[in-house]
């Protein structure tokens, strides 16, 4: 379902922000040297088939999010090829992107459309989405009143009602409470049984041990290991202590 072949992703350092038109013209006239670059991913090869739950670990800045963004098509690899069959849905911790001034209900419609649901699908599933996220009392409130944990619950709840073959979770099940986490893990089990693929990037190693078949370990853009979850996590913990 997901095949990455020699995938590398290069980013420019320093020049990623916006600049002033005037400054850019000056730069062009002065012929400044091109900015430094870093490889967020370096020759990564991967082969993932359907019906697996995959963990993704590594220190901050090791390329976990970049990898997930390449799989869901937000980034294109600089070199190498990424082949992904099936519909991908991503849920990233920092990107719930609810519009704060819009009601929770309206946000569900907007977010649902982004996730690939039609208006009718959402209307049919609205009650289920709200019930799963336990936000019955907040349906007509503005989204700004939601706490981070509530936003996470709502986003997860919309995502699982949208059609998908591959689900990418980046640091997602961290803000929701214990009760919700257990519900979410149950859903992940169900998805797996349906033949869907789930990739979970997290620093919560216990959770990964609990639900992932295989785990992928990235370090400075290199793939260190991709094997049985228990084995990889033990090695990772060893490396962190040493």
């Amino acid at each position: 379902m997901i095949t990455l072949f020699n995938v590398s992703k290069k980013f420019r350092l320093y020049q990623n922000g916006r600049s002033i038109l005037f400054k850019s013209i000056l730069k062009a006239i002065r012929k400044e040297s091109p900015p430094e670059t870093i490889y967020a991913l370096n020759n990564v090869n991967l082969d993932i088939r359907g019906g697996e739950v995959i963990g993704l670990i590594g220190p901050n800045g090791s390329g976990k999010s970049t990898l997930l963004k390449i799989i869901c098509g937000i980034y294109k690899p600089t070199t190498g090829t990424a082949r992904v069959d099936g519909k991908v849905i991503s849920l990233f911790q920092l990107g719930f992107a609810f519009l704060p001034d819009l009601s929770v209900r309206d946000n569900i419609f907007l977010y649902g459309a982004i996730m690939g649901l039609g208006r009718k699908d959402i209307r049919d599933n609205l009650k289920k989405i709200i019930d799963f996220s336990c936000l019955q009392d907040f349906v007509d409130a503005e989204a700004r009143v939601l706490s981070l944990g509530m936003e996470e619950r709502l986003a997860f709840s919309i995502v699982i009602h949208a059609p998908s073959d591959i689900l990418l979770l980046d640091e997602t099940l961290t803000a929701g409470d214990r009760n919700f986490k257990n519900k979410a893990l149950k859903i992940i089990e169900e998805f797996k049984a349906m033949g869907r693929t789930i990739i979970i990037s997290s620093h919560d190693l216990n959770m990964l041990k609990q639900c992932c078949d295989r785990t992928l370990w990235l370090s400075s853009g290199h793939l260190v290991a991709f094997d049985n979850t228990g084995k990889v996590i033990d090695k990772y913990i060893d490396s962190c202590q040493g």
Binding site: N16, S19, S90, F92, L110, I114, G116
Partner: protein
């Protein structure tokens, strides 16, 4: 393929609905409130010019309103879509959606308000006893041409705005100038010499305002040769801007 298209339409529609609700508070009263802007513009310009520039123009109020509505449509849609990619950057950074959908959403949201404003204009035209002629069949085409022009410019601006901080200010100056260049409150034939008039009339937005007045005010079909010229010109602008946007599309998302 069909699914992708349907999802694209869904996303654009929800952006339009969300944007409209945010601006009007989702209520009729909120929409009426947004009408204050064109209305106050109409009153100010009418008081300033009805005895001078407008003294030879019959139904000067409606003449003005047509100019104001078409101009506001252009300026508001370009400004709103200029900001669109930056303001939706949290979504674009984290979920794959086509960036053009974001731009299309903000253009069509303004277009929706424009269409509602046109309904009020239509009411005024009937109320003033002017009425409509069969020339009205050309009007949808005029709106379509204007949408195409706005679409092209918006794609270019929203893309530039990701790279440069000051595009918004520069565009603001262009719009300030445009307000006087486009015949919103005057008739160009009155004080632009014959030699310069041909050059003046090359501006597609000027032509769009003239077409709209031909159809709604003077009840005649617009000059078809001019219309063909504007259509082809606008089409060219659109495809050039679209090609530029597509070329930078992947790089845009990485910069957000």
């Amino acid at each position: 393929m069909k699914d992708v298209k349907r999802q694209y339409i869904n996303i654009v529609r929800e952006f339009v609905i969300a944007g409209f609700k945010l601006r009007t508070g989702g209520a009729l009263l909120g929409f009426i409130w947004t009408l204050l802007h064109p209305l106050s513009m109409l009153i100010i310009l009418y008081m300033l010019f009805s005895r001078r520039l407008g003294s030879n123009i019959e139904h000067y109020g409606i003449f003005l309103l047509i100019g104001i509505l078409h101009w506001n449509f252009f300026s508001r849609a370009t400004v709103s879509s200029l900001r669109s990619i930056m303001s939706k950057r949290i979504i674009l950074r984290n979920i794959y959606i086509p960036p053009t959908a974001v731009v299309a959403g903000s253009i069509l949201e303004v277009c929706l308000s424009f269409l509602l404003e046109l309904c009020i204009l239509a009411g005024l035209i009937v109320f003033s006893g002017l009425g409509f002629s069969s020339a009205i069949v050309w009007f949808p085409l005029v709106i379509l041409i204007q949408l195409l022009l706005i679409g092209g410019i918006s794609l270019l601006l929203s893309c530039l705005n990701v790279y440069f901080n000051d595009v918004e200010y520069i565009w603001d100056i262009v719009l300030k100038l445009g307000f006087f260049v486009v015949p919103i409150f005057y008739d160009p034939a009155m004080f632009i010499s014959k030699g310069k008039l041909a050059f003046y009339l090359m501006n597609p937005l000027t032509q769009i305002v003239i077409f709209a007045r031909d159809i709604l005010l003077f009840k005649r079909a617009p000059n078809l040769i001019n219309m063909l010229y504007v259509f082809l010109f606008v089409l060219l602008i659109f495809f050039i801007c679209y090609a530029i946007f597509k070329k930078f599309e992947d790089a845009i998302v990485e910069r957000l």
